[in-house]
């Protein structure tokens, strides 16, 4: 049976490099994708995922197993980093994130998909988390609720509301594409 994240963390605290490598392999890819979906920027996403692990290995790491799972802690660090990135780069831009759209530009071919990507990033934070975790990361409602730290019903209702907003954005995009992507 493979060790739990928390068991790996205990071994990391004792200096076990193999445990760190194992935890990194297990959790980094999803953490990176989560950060990427939130930011739309590969460089920021890589930095954020890296920073989450750096926080974890510091002598004064703030993970406390009594307050939640290690996975939820890592997602929480990334979420906070994304909030900081938004705050520091959105000033004066009427809510439009000014982060560089490198990934959006290079990987997303469809105009509508690109518009959707921007719309996802402009959702209120709680709604954005629900869409990213449930619809883009394909996590269950229960998993997403644990990672965000809220009841399952809240995740579910946020997701449905977010989907209504996104569907409306897409409809609007089909009518007036230039206004939505601007």
């Amino acid at each position: 049976m493979e060790p739990s994240d928390e068991e790996l963390y205990r071994r990391i605290r004792k200096g076990d490099r193999q445990a760190l490598a194992e935890l990194y392999e297990r959790r980094e890819p999803a953490l990176y994708r989560y950060a990427l979906q939130l930011s739309g920027n590969q460089a920021i996403a890589e930095e954020a995922a890296h920073e989450a692990f750096l926080q974890l290995i510091q002598p004064d790491a703030r993970f406390d197993a009594r307050r939640g799972s290690l996975q939820a802690y890592l997602y929480g660090v990334v979420r906070n980093l994304m909030r900081m990135a938004y705050r520091s780069q959105c000033v004066g831009l009427a809510g439009e994130p000014a982060v560089d759209d490198s990934v959006v530009q290079t990987l997303i071919e469809g105009e509508a998909t690109r518009a959707l990507s921007i719309a996802v990033r402009n959702l209120p934070p709680g709604y954005r988390d629900a869409v990213v975790l449930c619809d883009l990361e394909e996590r269950s409602y229960e998993d997403a609720a644990k990672l965000v730290g809220c009841p399952v019903g809240t995740i579910r209702s946020r997701l449905y509301r977010a989907r209504r907003l996104l569907a409306a954005k897409l409809r609007q995009y089909r009518l007036t594409p230039e206004k939505v992507t601007k």
């Binding site: 490598a21 009594r66 660090v77 569907a167």
Partner: protein, 209 residues
């Protein structure tokens, strides 16, 4: 036959599309009765298709080797410095024992021997740091990414009324039951450093649900 009002179908409609399954009998009847919900059904399918595109576009390969190596190097560096510090701390009891032994020797050798030698030990002011130490369950939640307190830096605790949005902006997760409403006001004790920046928060009263 009545097929209910639109509001009661919205969530089921979204859930069917998310799962990629057809509508149940009653929902199907409602969709054929209600043009607005029929449009919404179509819009949900378009949205799901676009979300699938977005998911695939971002699942591209990338090299994690550089980041992995960087992390492992950082970890090795931390380990080295912590072994050094462990080694350094190991000398403290030994030094203290030697110092105590030397003091006793001096005291025994003094002619009057009436006044014992005094050894004054200067310690770092750690009282304030204890408040934001997560190892102790003192009820204070450290503000993520706040600058650490400088040695000897004093802190003060101020009581503030903060709403949920302000707490979230500080990086404090709201208790589950309150997470949905950021407009709620909480009474909180805030630990503030000499630079007036918050370091930790303890919620002392909660809004009525």
């Amino acid at each position: 036959m009545s097929t209910g009002n639109c509001g009661e179908w919205l969530d089921e409609l979204a859930e069917c599309v998310r799962r990629g399954v057809g509508p149940s009998g009653r929902l199907s009847a409602h969709l054929s009765d209600c043009a607005r919900c029929g449009e919404r059904w179509e819009a949900e399918w378009v949205l799901s298709a676009e979300l699938r595109e977005l998911r695939m576009a971002r699942a591209g390969q990338r090299s994690r080797d550089v980041w992995r190596r960087r992390l492992m190097a950082e970890f090795a560096g931390l380990e080295r410095s912590s072994s050094r510090s462990r080694f350094r701390w190991a000398w403290i009891p030994a030094s203290a024992a030697l110092l105590a032994a030397a003091s006793v020797q001096v005291w025994l050798g003094m002619p009057g021997r009436s006044v014992p030698a005094r050894i004054s030990v200067q310690s770092e002011d750690i009282a304030s740091a204890g408040l934001v130490d997560t190892d102790e369950d003192n009820g204070f939640i450290p503000v993520p990414y706040a600058l650490p307190l400088a040695t000897g830096e004093s802190v003060r605790i101020v009581r503030r009324e903060l709403n949920g949005a302000e707490l979230v902006r500080m990086g404090i997760d709201l208790p589950g039951a309150y997470a949905a409403d950021l407009a709620d006001d909480f009474e909180a004790d805030v630990v503030v450093g000499e630079d007036e920046l918050p370091r930790a928060v303890q919620l002392v009263s909660y809004p009525d649900l």
